[in-house]
Symmetry: C2
Subunit: 762 residues, 2 copies
């Protein structure tokens, strides 16, 4: 019972039997269907529409264009609202946009009686544009005379941040020192989340309020953003989140719920459904930012890292979304994970362009940081002929590290133990030796990467979570969270936490898997690997109050002091002797129905979290590189995670598997491509190369379990970390195998063959 | 703002526009359909089934018979559970019954892919019975050698209760006194609630639990009864109650939800819907008990009531349901409403028979009591040549009355003021004079009746209610009640109460109209005219806590003492000067998003009510009786109610209209008829004569508004009272018009013509 056990997922059976109800399963009868009309240019202005042919399609109810929507700009990212204007998200889009910034921009919407009519009409909408040259790269968008995408940012640069750790400049730090320098541009690509369930919602009006059921990670934030986008009070909106088929950050943006909410108001409150197709999802929702990191680094002969200069350019795409928060995160991890003897100079830019908009995606800037930092580490190790693991042991984030800017600290430190564990698991030393001096077209290599990741968003932003518990007549309980199950197993671990705290066994903890902003305790939702840490604290806090109230009733029934009792396995027991005093079922029935003292025992608490802590880890990968084919086969791979105490080891392992799979695609095959006009070239799962089970090796997982004093149950972040170190570990294994340093992702055959040819290996 | 105003119903617009979602509107896709197979005898035993033809119907999934259900007897009435065994409801039926006790008893159920297949198969189920003589009357069931319907009650008498108020027997009291005596049997008929929406539910399994969405007045009790009927813990059941199309007590019985829940477990948790047809509803759900009251009463020449003897026989039908609670209520009101100088002897019997089962129906035994008491009052007045109003003024429940058994008291007393108000409104004295000495076939008359009605079930049973309030980001609030809106306007008055208590205006109080036992605060539901009184107290209690927490946050924001502030019209104001200090919207946004102190402000409270109070009232009716046609035309009618302070006068008036309409049908046309075999003869709305708008005169309503000190807002019962006094007032008006005392309901043409012929008036 309680935390630390391998409880079977609370939703396992219904998910595998098809009983679990997702948004589409909950649609009421008679919904209208909405379809977004999308721009066929990436940069320009809509001048006019010709709707005649579209309106003539039988079944079309209404067409709403960018000229019909409220003149309100709103932000989409799933951040807690900030009461300070300066920290509020960038409001740079309307429900439908006249100014087109991406290919497939939302310029109108058709509402029809059915899907076929909606699609047919959407295709028949004729649009006249004023078209500008598409700017697909940061360089193009920052160039002199580039068209301005958002008038609030005349140079297309959303933000530029910089900091220095240490004294002086990089140049000053290395001048006259006996150091080896490297100078690389490490570049990551645009990739997409590829959650199984594409964005879907339906909206209708009830008692003058708008009710939106949607596949989201952040129902309470969706409510707030709809309120902003439509200019109506939050209380007049109700958002319901059923089971969702994955999100990975893409559903941490409020993308189509505001439009759907608005459309239902345009048809007298009738229900309207809006399902975003896979093609639209790939091209018109969010991607992981492509970031170019220009890294200069200097290292002494003995491997001591002296100084670094970091310059990152984040390609934002058409809309701000999470904007500069991503590359700021990148810069921070680059800073934190290695220690410079002298200086780190850091600059980061986020730049509007005309490619698909970047948003939140598992890792939130850290996969990009890890690619830059871990390529750098290996490239420096190579430069000074040092074992890359030794290089890391020497220069990595030290025990007791405290971030100089955020003051986030390593409350527990498992980084070096992770490295040791991986080293031993993969036989690092033997393999490094074995793979020296290979010849021939197929070569083997071994590589590694490390990372650190904070837990939640404090102190950058607000961390708050609430929980409600309700006693049932049979002594079981309801557990109501604002935090969301998005496939990661949150409902299961919350159940375990509630059991641990209250003494009511898991089988009697009934968690509500649906969030509904009308009734669900407030929580900002699933992102930033925050829920077990932040929302878990709310479970603990509410659980203690709940247990206290139960014992208070036991004290009344038994005429004993409350403090002398405890609850264990659904029984009120004597705190000392553990002797059974009263069944929870009897207590609960009495509490409900006592003629003397009837009370509906519940508890509700908000936990405002003002803590954070670093999770760390490492990936070790072994590869076989077929150089003429440009093919990398991962033959062995292990992730080792320092994520504090595990609430549910089996679920933790599964979480790592999922992250590693994402990392493999990021490393080897995934990339969202655009043609010169900014039109996506592979916006479907045939051409966009997500790894399948055929491409996936056995995934190994190890943990270093340290009891973090700030975690509610000793736990810290695990949601996002597994996706972070895989790509650089593989890149470094390829480097080890072939001696070729590939500085951009993915390591796909075309790129590798070009590199191997250039290195005259084939 | 607040209580006492005519707020428009919160659900008005969506109910008239068809937007409101009832159970059938919420059905998920792909439900199976269940149909109950009903016995074609009223008394007997099922020996065997031949299912071959039924199972051969395409689309039939499964047939479950009375031989397949758990061997568990369970109770159906919607009472709070009692932790004392002696006070628990009678558990006398299984999910499907082998022992048949009513015509149309539930003996099997067909589950099929669609309605047509289910109905077809249900008709093809062949049943072999052992058949016994049907017992349709109390006399038949109590006769020597009558078949035993439930082995636990060998004489078919469920209960016999008796009490005496005063000293000695009736006979002793009248012996040797100069009194006039009467001896009548006043009899009421079986009538049905005729709610627009017939019982409907659908059930499926989710995470191993059963979820039942149903049209009920009492979701939390449905949960408990399903738990008993299936022998599973309450926590494994979830009951959801959407809008419902009326109940009037019939949905205060848990009739088909347990069977529906069981059936879904028989098809692997797939969703199953069960809709009870109008015919089934009339014959196989619940009816208002037909009760025969044998009344002897003695009155002095001056009109002083000396003594009464009351003997009531309640025809229970086949199953106990609410059983003896009904006729016990009848006896009590008969006792309370008039004062005997010497003695009241009272006996009441509840007897199983083979007609449709009696259950709760608006008034819960009091319409029957009022018919007996008010006929008696007029018959006594006639006997001593006294004005019936004067008789009542002299002998009715006095100011300060306290029930000698329950100790329920008149905390406020408006009975005589109601009589005076009605007297004046209808010009009683003038009309009584005018209608003396009429001749001819059409005669006019005026009559009246009074009643008293307690508020809720305390101290007979538990009165407990809970409420939860949640602050939204915009300073509006959610109001969550366990109490149910069943058409009576509960959601609207709770909204007003919340506004009154918190200072947040009604337009910003968003009440949840759906109850869901997983999340809804506990409340036993809508019955006994309890909700504004008992659940209203919970609103007040939670509201005060909620307001205190809001002001606590205001104190933090403004650095002021909490006690110096108040909330008025969504603004925190200085308590003394009423000067504006802070908008609720600003406070709420800060409370949610403050980086310093974030809290999700909510409040939840249980109110355990240990109070009760009498509501009273009178009806005055004027009629024109066409004696040859046996037709009574109500030409004027007014109900005057002493129901404490009115929360919403317009809704209160509407509530009285509905009750008066029910009273008119009860008086003149409604009666559920059975043939000799116990088969219903008029189980449809063509043959069962519910009054239509064509039959309904203008309904007039008056109130005596007294501030009851025990009511949360000075209010007391109003839900059921309006239905009570109408029938006896009309009967007494007919007596006044024709001199003929009709002692049974309804006063339909056949009966009246027979009476007028017997009296040689036609």
């Amino acid at each position: 019972m309680g935390v630390g056990n391998n409880m079977v997922r609370v939703d396992a059976i219904e998910k595998v039997t098809g009983g679990a109800k997702y948004t589409a399963d909950l649609e009421p009868k008679g919904l209208l269907v909405a379809k977004v009309v999308r721009s066929t240019i990436a940069n320009g202005v809509v001048k006019s529409f010709d709707l005649e042919a579209a309106l003539a399609v039988p079944g079309v109810v209404k067409i709403v264009t960018c000229f019909d929507v409220p003149d309100i700009q709103f932000p989409t990212p799933g951040h807690p609202w900030s009461v300070e204007t300066a920290h509020q998200d960038i409001a740079d889009r309307k429900l439908l946009n006249t100014r087109v910034r991406v290919y497939g921009d939302d310029i109108a919407a058709v509402i029809a009686e059915d899907e076929i009519a909606a699609n047919r009409a959407a295709r028949l909408v004729k649009v006249e544009y004023e078209e500008y040259e598409p700017m697909l790269t940061v360089e193009a968008a920052m160039a002199e005379g580039a068209t301005v995408l958002h008038k609030e940012k005349p140079g297309n640069v959303i933000a530029h941040s910089s900091f220095v750790v240490g004294e002086g400049t990089y140049q000053e730090a290395v001048e006259g020192e006996d150091v080896v320098e490297i100078d690389h541009v490490y570049a990551t690509q645009s990739v997409q989340h590829c959650h199984i369930e594409t964005p879907i919602s339906f909206a209708y009006m009830e008692k003058g309020r708008i009710v939106v059921t949607t596949s989201t990670q952040i129902p309470h934030i969706v409510r707030r953003v709809i309120s902003q986008a439509l200019g109506i009070p939050a209380g007049e909106i109700r958002v319901i989140k059923p089971y969702i088929g994955g999100g990975f950050g893409n559903k941490q943006d409020v993308l189509y719920e505001p439009l759907n909410a608005f459309l239902c108001t345009q048809v007298g409150g009738r229900g309207v459904r809006m399902e975003i197709s896979r093609e639209e999802t790939l091209a018109c929702t969010r991607v992981r930012h492509a970031i170019k990191c220009h890294v200069k680094a200097a290292v002494k002969k003995d491997g001591t890292l002296v100084a670094r200069k970091f310059e990152a350019y984040s390609n934002q795409g058409g809309y701000a979304s999470h904007a500069h928060a991503i590359v700021a995160n990148t810069s921070n991890e680059f800073k934190q994970i290695y220690h410079d003897e002298k200086t780190l100079e850091s600059d980061a830019y986020t730049v509007y362009t005309n490619i698909a908009t970047g948003g939140a995606m598992r890792g939130y800037g850290i996969p990009q940081a890890a690619f830059a930092a871990e390529c750098m580490a290996d490239d420096l190790a190579v430069a000074v002929h040092m074992d890359p693991l030794e290089f890391r042991m020497k220069n990595c984030m030290p025990e007791g590290y405290v971030d100089p800017h955020t003051h986030v600290a390593c409350n527990t430190y498992g980084l070096k133990e992770c490295m040791e564990k991986g080293r031993s698991y993969i036989h690092w030393d033997e393999k490094r030796k074995e793979y020296e001096n290979q010849t021939g077209p197929v070569r083997k290599g071994i590589g590694m990467a490390i990372f650190c990741y904070k837990t939640g968003v404090y102190p950058i932003s607000l961390e708050t979570a609430s929980c409600r518990m309700v006693l049932n007549q049979d002594g079981s309980m309801q557990l109501q969270m604002g935090a969301t199950e998005i496939g990661q197993g949150a409902d299961t671990v919350f159940t375990q936490m509630a059991a641990e705290t209250t003494g009511i066994t898991e089988d009697k903890v009934h968690i509500l898997s649906t969030q509904d902003t009308d009734i669900t305790p407030f929580d900002t939702g699933a992102y930033a690997s925050r829920q077990t840490y932040v929302s878990g604290m709310a479970v603990k806090k509410a659980g203690l109050i709940f247990k206290d109230r139960i014992l208070d009733y036991a004290a009344y029934m038994l005429d004993k002091e409350k403090d002398t009792m405890d609850i264990q396995n659904n029984v009120v027991v004597d705190k000392e002797s553990r002797e059974k005093l009263l069944d929870m079922a009897e207590l609960a029935t009495t509490a409900f129905y006592s003629l003397d003292r009837s009370i509906h025992i519940t508890a509700e608490a908000t936990s405002h979290c003002k803590d954070n802590t670093f999770a760390t880890g490492a990936c070790f990968a072994e590869v076989e590189v077929d150089m003429p084919l440009g093919k990398v086969k991962v033959t062995n791979i292990v992730n080792v995670h320092d994520s504090g105490k595990l609430i549910n080891p089996k679920l933790a392992e599964a979480q790592v598997h999922g992250g590693m799979s994402m990392g493999l695609g990021y490393a080897l095959s995934e990339e969202l491509l655009f043609d010169k006009s900014g039109r996506p070239l592979n916006d479907n799962l045939l051409d966009y190369k997500l790894p399948t089970s055929m491409d996936t090796p056995d995934l190994h997982v190890q943990f270093v379990e340290l009891d973090d004093p700030t975690g509610p149950f000793g736990n810290k972040a695990l949601g996002e970390p597994p996706a972070i170190p895989v790509a650089p570990a593989i890149r470094n294994a390829v480097l080890n195998a072939t001696g070729v340093a590939v500085d951009s992702l993915p390591l796909d055959p075309q790129k590798l063959v070009a590199h191997f040819k250039a290195a005259e290996l084939i």
